[in-house]
Amino acid sequence: MSAPLPRRIWSWFAQTRVGRSVFRVGPPQSNLERSQAMVSSFLLHVQPAKVSRHALRASYSLGLGLISLYLFFILIVTGVLLMFYYVPSTLQAYDRMKDLQFVISAGLVVRNMHRWAAHLMVLFVMMHLCRVFYTGAYKQPREFNWVLGVGLFLMTLGLSFTGYLLPWDQLAFWAITVGTNIAGYAPVIGPKLKFLLLGGNEVGQEALTRFYALHVIVLPALAGLMVAVHLWRVRKDGGLSRPDLPEDSVQSLPLSQLPTNKSYGLMELARGTTPQVGRDPDDEIFSWPHLIFRELLLFMLVVAVVLFLAIFWNAPLEELANTVHPPNPAKAPWYFLGLQELVSYSAFWGGVVVPALLVTALVLLPYIDRKRQGVGRWFARERAVANTIFSVCLVTAIALTVIGTVFRGPNWSWVVPWQTPPAITEGH
């Protein structure tokens, strides 16, 4: 059977003089070349030449971290395109949104992609966090990578929140007003923090300038760096988490006895859990093509889903921001609505204590829960207590968010969405 056409084209190109200078290795034919394909490529070398079969199991990781990463890529590309047109001015920003919609080629679809990818990224980062918890993957030696992950989760929220203001419509203005008010409830530093964030006491040009700078430079650069460290740590901490092997199946070989016919080199040797040299070699599989092709396919799938959403559903754009006419109710972005619901009971407890405790608990988690049991399996019985506590928090958070999103109407009163609300007539 002849190779498929793209592969034949690549084979031809790779053995030309130019092709050799670019790729260094053509389409890998042997295991040696498969390893070289990974190691000699800048883009691929962050990943190992061989990878555990367990790591490829879609039912284990669900690809959530990778999907989050791809969404981040899409956001960077569409974000840069949007920057070509956007002007962070309260007088122009909204008009620019209209121009994107009506006259700029592909402006609407790019904005839609950016918006939906941003919402999806918040969602997938959250789900990734849950996956890592439920599989106990934050345990030694991956404690610090979990902390980095929590940081990336907060960074994602920060990116989404700062981006929310930029269209300068009613939705943006009042969501940020509500969101920054929640920040203002913190004792002592709250009002200062709010002032620092907004560059004033109210959302205005200063706030837009700050949010823009944070959104396009500060947070993406920080998040990009943290993503790099996060991925590097995945590699250095021994790849994706997996169940511990029974003690007797591990034979530690001294360095001098390492097989010489292995295609990977010393760079594979890292402290602690890597590499799996000496373990059953059948448990490992070449990254090219098994990992790389899967990653590429998942990327295409993510692009397809985001494109699909962007083509058929437009990102919201309400009226121009009106500083004296708040919508009723004014709602924060959806991922803060659970918080806003809590704030409606108590500004201090809901807006300050609960989120602060949650973030602290998440950061400290791997240092508190140190038993190395039930790692690498979903809902391991040994972790029943931890899983139960986490699930209660998660279900509560989801319930509060759903209530805040769907069941709250004017003046934050209880409404049932499928019943027609009494006609709200405008008063004087």
């Binding site: 007088l91 209209k98 799938l301 754009l317």
Partner: protein, 462 residues
């Protein structure tokens, strides 16, 4: 993993590749296909059909299909209406169906300077019919129905004395004579029982306004505003006037065009600039300058215009200062002075009227009649007020109050109205405090007028 599963990757690559390809194609098609392009092609075909010379034909064939827009930086607007409405400036398209119809009467308001939406409203930046015409979610400014289009004149021009906007003038007269200002403030003048109306034309739709006049409580529950008994045509006129109150403050060039030279504009200037301090009309006024009753017989309009520009050039040694009138203002004053020649306008200049006549004007100006009825005859309902569930009439006010008492009542108002039945809601209408609005000089005239309402024969002889 077997070779078979590696090969199955190719199937997935093909499938997903096709999917992404189809989606990109679909996105491109939806981005590329825009209804305005069809309108432009139709216009170009029409132009080619109508071409009579080869040159015209080539010109038409070479017309680009592209977004057309009028940039109006001073108005902070971009009007893309002409992307579809391509023939607005071509009279030969008179009577064509939209969107290719000709727009008559634009010589005074050239499109390149005014655009479209400043009068017609709608969403100028939009390029689809629904979005551009503005009756879509999250757009506050849908197109103004054509029958109300004169409302837009009122954004820049005074409602009176605009021959092109008779409905607007009618609406203003209705507003001023119906007594709306008794409860509503407009341009800083009026009561505070109802809301301010300065931006009402931007906030409310024509339908809302109509319903509000017919049955205020139906659209604003709890409103104490009495239903207005307007004739159908009058309702349309007053709705139109309300729609003209957008609070738009048009800058620069547009503000300078605001004055339409007219005799009544001239009269306003005449009062405002204090001409009466030096000149007299009807024997009243200053003696420094000449009397102006017959100036229209003595001087030509050209002389007057030049005199307003610079008095020294036509009257050497004149003590009259250069006021720096604009051309339009000079024209307006000239028109006013010419009219003095044959009309007894003096009667309508407040400084020259008697106190009772001035008081009547003040009663009208502040909309007292809105609650107290024309000439203080009363009859406006005020549910649950002890005074027969009506706002009291003023005919016999001279019997119940001394002048100082009446002044005090007007200036301080009466917030609490004694209810007929304490268990029912308090009466909606009350007497606002006018102290901050009515000028000191006006209150005496107003009281004089109110005292004059008492029928003759029962006169106490004040």
């Amino acid at each position: 993993m077997s070779d078979g599963s590696v090969r199955s990757f190719y199937g997935w690559f093909t499938t997903l590749g096709l999917l992404v390809g189809v989606l990109v194609g679909l996105g491109y098609y939806r981005d590329e296909y825009r209804p305005w392009k069809d309108y432009q092609r139709r216009f170009i075909r029409e132009e080619i059909r109508r071409a009579t010379t080869p040159d015209q034909r080539v010109l038409a064939q070479n017309t680009a299909v592209q977004v057309r827009q009028i940039l109006l930086p001073d108005l902070n607007r971009v009007d893309r209406c002409t992307t579809c409405h391509l023939a607005v400036e071509d009279p030969s398209y008179g009577g064509y169906p939209q969107p290719l119809a000709y727009h008559p009467l634009h010589d005074q308001h050239p499109f390149d300077k005014f655009g479209c939406t400043v009068c017609h409203r709608g969403q100028g930046r939009a390029t689809t019919a629904a979005d551009a015409h503005g009756a879509v979610a999250h757009w506050d400014e849908p197109m103004l129905p054509l029958k109300y289009i004169q409302a837009s004149c009122g954004q820049c021009h005074d409602a009176s004395d605009n021959p092109a906007a008779p409905e607007l003038e009618r609406g203003e007269q209705l507003f001023e004579t119906t007594g709306c200002r008794g409860c509503h403030r407009l341009g800083g003048v009026g009561g505070n029982i109802g809301p301010e109306l300065d931006r009402v034309g931007a906030r409310r739709s024509p339908d809302w306004l109509r319903q509000h006049f017919l049955a205020p409580a139906a659209v604003t529950p709890g409103s104490g505003m009495p239903p207005q008994k307007f004739a159908e045509a009058d309702i349309e006129a007053i709705v139109l006037f309300m729609l003209s109150q957008t609070g738009a403050n048009l800058p620069g060039f547009y503000a300078s065009m605001k004055v339409i030279p007219s005799a009544s504009e001239g009269q306003r200037l005449f009062q405002q600039k204090g001409c009466i301090g030096c000149h007299s009309v009807g024997g009243q006024g200053g003696k420094v300058g000449p009397a102006l009753d017959d100036v229209g017989l003595r001087r030509t309009p050209e002389w007057m215009m030049q005199h307003f520009r610079d008095p020294q050039t036509v009257s050497p040694g004149s003590v009259m200062p250069r006021f720096g009138f604009t051309e339009a203002e000079a024209r307006a004053l000239t028109d006013f002075l010419l009219r003095l020649r044959d009309q007894k306008l003096a009667l309508s200049i407040p400084a020259l009227m008697g106190p009772v006549d001035r008081g009547r004007e003040i009663y009208r100006k502040y909309g007292c009649s809105g609650c107290h009825g024309p000439e203080g005859k009363g009859g406006v309902p005020n549910p649950n007020a002890k005074t027969a569930e009506q706002v009291p009439g003023l005919t016999y006010v001279a019997d119940g109050y001394t002048k100082p008492e009446l002044k005090k009542l007007i200036l301080r108002g009466q917030r609490e109205i004694v209810p007929l039945d304490p268990r029912r809601p308090a009466p909606p209408l009350y007497m606002p405090a006018w102290g901050s609005t009515i000028k000191d000089a006006e209150i005496d005239d107003l009281v004089a007028y109110l005292f004059s309402l008492k029928p003759k024969g029962e006169d106490l002889g004040f």
